[in-house]
Amino acid sequence: MKDIFIMLAQRLSLGVVTLFVVSLIIFLGVSLLPGDAAQAMLGQSATPDTVAALRARMGLDQPGYIRYFTWLGGILQGDFGVSIANDREISDLLGWRFANTLFLALLAAVVSVPLALTLGILAALYRNSVYDRAVNVITLSSISTPEFFVAYILILVFAVQLGWFPSLANVGPDTLFFERVYACVLPAATLTLVVVAHMMRMTRAAIINLLASPYIEMAALKGIPRRHIIVRHALPNAWAPIINVIVINLAYLIVGVVVVEVVFVYPGLGQLLVDSVQRRDLPVVQACSLVFAATYVLLNLSADILSILTNPRLLHPK
């Protein structure tokens, strides 16, 4: 068991290092701005006074490493600084929007993970059947389609023509849970459609790969019924690849959310990011990027850790 702790510790520390480097990149990226950050943000028409004021506010008159550690130290205490566009505390802007984004992603995940796993495993078990071929064509088409296309088709059909669901996912801080779910049906459906295709293709590939193992053939030659082969021989070895598939797609959900939020004008982190990019509100862009990246890193890290914990060779060392 010692090995496994060492491996877990290695993974965790690697995750921390990655987060640190990511924060560095996000911070340094801004210093790469051609010319002066404050000038670039305000544009050519800004007066020298306003530029100087912004410089002071952004702390640009201090050396880089001090600025970095001040910034990082603030974030670790939940202080992301102040938005340049509207002077509000970024952490106030971020908080409930991030919760909204997570809510939407979670809603999509709750539907798509079981759906994709079931469909993927069925496609693997009935390989080369009509079902499998049909699913292949449909999922290939689905992953080839831009999210906004799916989103607008759903709007066209279910909001405009049928009028079942709202075309704008308007939620406020006081919206009740079920109203919230109702408002999120179309955005979540969009995400689900796109992510299910990815996830089930990966599940199918992982299971087919697994079913080709000699020990599966051995189990068949021992006269084990097919359902027991799947449950007893394939499944225990399938956790690692399946977890991997799920987490990769959850990470994808978190990112895919950006476009969907914009289409449905959903007040999430992605919407905030896009707005801030357009306003060149750098501190907010940095904060949003960092939150997205951190979520992404943590998801990938948990995939690594779970696949270590489910690997029989590592769980039962020599």
Partner: protein, 294 residues
């Protein structure tokens, strides 16, 4: 009876050439044939946009949002520009930029990936860790951050997406090369005293072409979708240049009135990526399915 007679000699390879390629195509599944036709059509439109388009790229020819099948075959957009013209020029801009980006990603990621596999050691370590870190940030978010910093010209767009996407090319190029590099013929070449360029170009590259070609198709789709998404978000190809992603965004309001016109550029995007994916799927099936089980 010499000992060699005892072994069955594999059949000589089938003659190659155009006729063989044509036979393969005729045997290909319907989806792949459909994909090839779609790709050919798009390339044709992109290459000859200037001759095909009825109007100038950003020429205002009528009123805003004129309906389809009237004076203008596909109507006009939010500024009164001809939709059909915009769609045709959009093919040129969007496909051109996506293709340039993919080529950049492959030149960068492919070369560095193969070199990492061949050289190993600190070069591999350094490149792989760098790629790990770059890939730790989701590509779309990273692209938005970088485009905020560097601005949104088409050159920055190609560079930023190309560099970010090269990390994925690096991963696959390194992975397939490593499978080749462990083979004895590479060791034989090293022991012969061959240099890294020879090993990379003459020994490794010919053996990893099939997976790289397939990956090129997949990466192209991914880049194409990313650029479309960025354009849709207003961060990609900038006006007045026609682009499918931004065309959807500019005309999106019509959808709430039940008009499908804004969806045409989105459908154009989807059709091309579906076509490419079908062809790649067939190609992957062919190149991996040739292995004999006995």
């Amino acid at each position: 009876m010499t000992s060699e007679d005892l072994e069955t000699e594999p059949r000589p390879a089938k003659p190659g050439g155009g006729a063989a390629a044509w036979r393969e195509l005729k045997k290909a599944p319907l989806t792949a044939q459909f994909g090839l036709v779609v790709i050919a059509f798009y390339l044709f439109v992109a290459l000859f946009a200037q001759y095909l388009a009825p109007h100038g790229e950003s020429e205002i020819v009528g009123a805003e949002f004129e309906p389809r099948f009237g004076e203008f075959f596909l109507g006009t957009d939010n500024l009164g520009r001809d939709m059909l013209t915009r769609l045709i020029y959009g093919a040129q801009n969007t496909i051109g930029i996506a293709l340039a980006t993919t080529v950049l990603a492959f030149m960068l990621g492919g070369v560095v990936g193969i070199m990492a596999a061949v050289l190993g050691g600190w070069f591999d370590q350094f490149a792989s860790r760098l790629v790990d870190v770059l890939m730790a940030i989701p590509a779309l978010i990273f692209a938005m951050l970088l485009l905020t910093i560097f601005g949104t010209g088409w050159l920055t767009l190609i560079t930023v997406i190309g560099v970010l996407d090269s990390t994925r090319v690096y991963r696959i190029a390194r992975a397939v090369s490593i499978n080749v590099v462990v083979m004895d013929f590479i060791e034989a070449a090293r022991l012969r005293g061959e240099g890294v360029p020879w090993i990379t170009v003459r020994e490794v590259l010919p053996n990893i072409m099939p997976p790289l070609v397939a990956e090129f198709g997949l990466r192209f789709c991914f880049v194409f979708l990313t650029i479309s998404a960025l354009s849709f978000l207003g961060l990609g190809i900038q006006p007045p240049d026609a682009d499918w992603g931004s065309m959807v965004r500019d005309n999106a309001t019509l959808i709430t009135y039940g008009d499908i016109n804004p969806l045409l550029p989105a459908a154009a995007i989807a059709l091309l990526t579906i076509g490419v994916n079908f062809v790649v799927d067939w190609f992957l099936h062919k190149t991996s399915g040739l292995k004999d089980e006995h």
